[in-house]
Structures are given as structure tokens and as C-alpha cells.
């Protein structure tokens, strides 16, 4: 800024990305009740995602998955002091407007809910509240950033307890970031065309060696070792959806995933916190899936 201001500038790109930067190295947990939100905060979660059904139940029960009831979001906001996120359907800008009116701290424009628009994502620049969006590859990540997303997460395959898809997406994104960094100026235009992403964002990635916003991991994390794996693969924080509250001992597992995310390179600590956690969520083998949520979004 060129001139001194004594105004408070809110809703800027800097403050939107800033909150994502503060969540780095942390765990964001899906919760469906205020009691679960309390357990998450007690365990050291950096934020909670307030929703009515965790992805595993959305898969099992079927039907259209929508934004949560405001009563639930408000109840969770009143219970915890950490940031509260909530999900809107892809392209459903009216749900996002409602969530902004509820003063949630972040909106997840999420493929876990049933898409509302098969061609368009929400124009996220029009909001003061920041957005996180899922991505399976670098092109998708940069398209979401060009629409105003202030945080990117891998999509993985939510509700499966199977890390394989999240690993695929993370490796694709970080691998292409490295490849773009090797490209000369002419080749960047080819990358922009292949990835269907704006060339100015390709150039920024090439010059900085990273996404312009934090890259988190979501979709299938069920154990402390899963968290360590994705952090070592380049994720800067993790979302755990069904993995905590569909397990046998949520409070202990939540704490263990938090510790493993902080100490992800320290295998002694990951080993220590992995002991005797009880059963993880049962999970679904990728080949057995009939519904691929990661294919939602364009």
C-alpha cells in the first residue's frame, strides 16, 4: 500500500490467506455435534469443520448432501474458541452467503456435498470470508485459486479411511510444481494450456516453487502414520473427516493425529502415539467404491 491508512481493511487476500497460514502444522477435524467439537479442541485441533454428517455417513446413507443447519453451526461456534469452518455445495453461492452471514471463519466449497452447479464454482472474490477448495491436480488447484480460494486441500476420497487417493493428488500437485519450476518462459505457456490454468499463476508457481496459498491434505486420513505420510509428502496441515469420530476411541485418536502432525518427521513420536489406539474406522478399499466424490468439481 502506498498511502498510510488508519482504516481497518477487512476481507483482503492477505487476511484470507493469513488465517490458512496460521493453521499450518495443525489438524482440522470434522465434527457433527458441539460435544465432538469440544473433544476436538481438547485434543489440540486448530479448527473444526461443522457438518451434519461425516463423509462416511453421507456415503452410506446417500441422498442429497447440503449445507448444515445454522443451528448446528451456531452451537459449535458457541462451544469452541478455535476457528469454525462449514461446507457449501460446489457452485452454491447462496449457501456460501448464508455461511458468511453466520460468520463462520472459513467456507469449504466441497465435493463431499452434492454439487449445485455442474459448470461453475463459486466466485469467491465476491466474499469477505475466505474459502478452501479441493483439488486433485495442479491445474484444478490453480483454477480454484484464480476464483479466489485462499487455501487448497487435496480431495482424496472422503469417507473411505483410505489414504491412497490423497497421496495420488498430493504427489500430482507437488510433482507438477517441481516440473513447472524447470520450465522456461515458452514452456510455461504450454503448461498453462495443458493444466487449463492462468499463465500468471503458472509463472508465480515457477518462480516461488509453491502454490500461492497453503496446501493442506484431506480425504482418507485415519491414523497418525497417515498424517505423518502426507506431511512428509508436502502437505502443510491435515483435515480429518470421518477418521476420528468413526474410530473406537475418538479422543485418543484425535490427540494422536495432532501429535503426529506436529512431529511428522520424528518416527519415535509417531510410534509412541500410535500405540493402543483401538480400531481405526473400518474404511473402504478404493476399487470397491461406487461413488467417487473426487470427480466432482471442474
Amino acid at each position: 500500500m502506498d498511502e498510510t491508512t488508519t482504516q481497518r481493511l477487512t476481507g483482503t487476500t492477505r487476511v484470507k490467506r493469513g488465517l490458512a497460514e496460521m493453521l499450518r502444522g495443525g489438524v482440522i477435524m470434522d465434527v457433527v455435534t458441539p460435544e465432538q467439537a469440544r473433544i476436538a479442541e481438547d485434543a489440540g485441533a486448530v479448527a473444526v469443520m461443522a457438518l451434519e454428517r461425516v463423509p462416511a455417513d453421507i456415503r452410506a446413507q446417500g441422498g442429497v448432501a447440503r449445507m448444515s443447519d445454522p443451528v448446528l453451526v451456531e452451537g459449535i461456534k458457541e462451544t469452541v474458541t478455535i476457528p469454525v469452518m462449514a461446507k457449501a455445495r460446489i457452485g452454491h453461492f447462496a449457501e456460501a452467503q448464508v455461511l458468511e452471514a453466520l460468520e463462520v471463519d472459513y467456507i469449504d466449497e466441497s465435493e463431499v456435498l452434492t454439487p449445485a452447479d455442474e459448470a461453475h464454482h463459486i466466485d469467491k472474490w465476491g466474499f469477505r470470508v475466505p474459502f478452501v477448495c479441493g483439488a486433485t491436480n495442479l491445474g484444478e488447484a490453480l483454477r480454484r485459486i484464480s476464483e479466489g480460494a485462499a487455501m487448497i486441500r487435496s480431495k482424496g476420497e472422503a469417507g473411505t479411511g483410505n489414504i491412497v487417493e490423497a497421496v495420488r493428488h498430493l504427489r500430482s500437485i507437488t510433482g507438477d510444481i517441481r516440473a513447472v519450476g524447470q520450465a522456461d518462459a515458452a514452456e510455461r505457456y504450454r503448461w498453462a494450456k495443458e493444466l487449463q490454468a492462468p499463465v500468471d499463476l503458472i509463472t508465480e508457481v515457477a518462480e516461488t516453487g509453491r502454490l500461492p496459498v497453503p496446501l493442506f491434505c484431506a480425504g482418507g486420513i485415519a491414523t497418525p502414520a497417515d498424517a505423518s505420510l502426507v506431511m512428509q509428502l508436502g502437505a502443510e496441515a491435515v483435515f480429518v473427516g470421518s477418521g476420528i469420530f468413526k474410530s473406537e476411541d475418538p479422543a485418543r485418536r484425535a490427540r494422536a493425529v495432532v501429535e503426529a502432525t506436529t512431529h511428522f518427521r520424528d518416527a519415535e513420536i509417531v510410534a509412541k502415539v500410535s500405540r493402543g489406539l483401538g480400531n481405526a474406522m473400518p474404511g473402504i478399499e478404493a476399487a470397491a467404491l461406487t461413488q467417487h466424490m473426487a470427480e466432482r468439481g471442474w
Binding site: L9, T12, G25, P83, D266
Partner: protein, 202 residues
């Protein structure tokens, strides 16, 4: 000189980049042995409740508290300010703080994310040029002890929470800001902290 950065969670990398720009060696601190031979420590932005849990589980709470009590210089931004404060309101009953600076803070006192903001601050010790400051769900300083210097205050917009409250404070070797100097390219505040460490060494 070697400065530690508490690396349990939060924007550790940005503080590392700021120190690197100043040519200061730094090291992430996750376990008690990481505190060895440090000349100062930075407590970054992040979520103070999560850091509080991790301070306990990592075994750092006691040793870091002892080092601060023995006079190790500390610089806390946002969540780091909360961890260094004497009194914390709006937190959790089991929330820990080191009491290294005699201030009382209210967590998220400026409001939720929609109230997060940027503004320019006048900071006399950094010279005439304003300091651009980024506040993210920032704490409000509600009380200041007699030994604490207030180095900057929030601009009085007249229509917001926290108008005119202290946002940058120092007591002895401890410096705290409610905002995030590490999120901008202006390195003056980190340089000021480095000069505080140098003063102590002489």
C-alpha cells in the same frame, strides 16, 4: 547468535524467512533438547489452544518456561503473544501461558475471521515510516503492568472493538505483537528483536 522458533504449529516458516533475511541463524523447536544454546526464541502465530496442548505433550512447557523465566529473550506474535502473557481471558480453563510479560489479553478480542484486518501502525522505535500490520483473529490487550512499554496502539477508527488498545508491547527482553510482522516483507520489527538479544549479550 541462534534464535529458536517454536515449531509445534503455526506460521513458523514466515518467521524463519524473516530471520534469514536478517542473516540470523534459526532452528525449529519441537523438543526440549532443541532449546540448547539458543539466544532467543520466537513464538509464532497459530492457535494458542493447540500449541498449549502440544507444549505439554512435547515436554517443552517446563524447560521453555524456565528459559524465559531465566531471561531468554522472547518474541511472540498473536498466539505467541497469548502464550507469553500473564493473564489470558476468553480462552480455555486449562490454557497455559508463561507469564513472561505483565499483560492481560483476550483471545480473539478483535473478533472472528470476518473482522481480521490490515492497517498501518505508528511505531516510534522503528522510525517515521508506518508499519503495515496484519491482524488475524487477533487478541486484544486488556491490561498492562507498570513495567511494560506500549510501543504501538491500534488506530482509533471509532467504530471497532479494540480501538486504541496496545498492539505492540515490550517488557525487558520480551516483545509481543497482536499482529503478524512475519506476514509482510518489512523486517524492522524482527531486526528490533534481534537488537534486543544483542543488548542483552553486552
Amino acid at each position: 547468535m541462534r534464535v529458536g522458533i517454536l515449531a509445534l504449529q503455526g506460521d513458523v516458516n514466515e518467521h524463519g524467512a524473516a530471520l534469514a533475511d536478517l542473516g540470523v541463524a534459526h532452528r525449529p523447536v519441537r523438543r526440549p533438547e532443541d532449546l540448547d544454546d539458543l539466544d532467543g526464541i520466537v513464538l509464532p502465530g497459530g492457535e494458542s489452544t493447540a500449541m498449549s496442548v502440544l507444549l505439554e505433550s512435547s515436554g517443552l512447557n517446563g524447560p521453555l518456561g524456565k528459559a524465559l523465566a531465566e531471561g531468554m529473550p522472547g518474541f511472540g506474535t498473536c498466539a505467541g503473544m497469548i502464550l507469553l502473557a500473564r493473564v489470558v481471558a476468553g480462552g480455555r480453563p486449562d490454557q497455559r501461558s508463561f507469564g513472561a510479560i505483565d499483560i492481560g489479553v483476550r483471545r480473539n478480542g478483535f473478533g472472528r475471521q470476518l473482522e481480521s484486518f490490515e492497517t498501518d501502525l505508528h511505531v516510534a522505535v522503528l522510525g517515521e515510516d508506518p508499519l503495515h500490520a496484519v491482524f488475524i483473529r487477533a487478541p486484544v490487550v486488556e491490561s498492562v503492568g507498570a513495567g511494560v512499554e506500549v510501543l504501538a496502539r491500534a488506530p482509533g477508527t471509532g467504530d471497532g472493538t479494540g480501538d486504541g488498545t496496545p498492539v505492540l508491547c515490550r517488557e525487558g527482553g520480551v516483545l509481543v505483537s497482536a499482529f503478524h510482522p512475519e506476514l509482510t516483507d518489512d523486517r524492522r520489527l524482527h531486526a528490533y528483536f534481534v537488537s534486543m538479544i544483542e543488548e542483552r549479550g553486552h
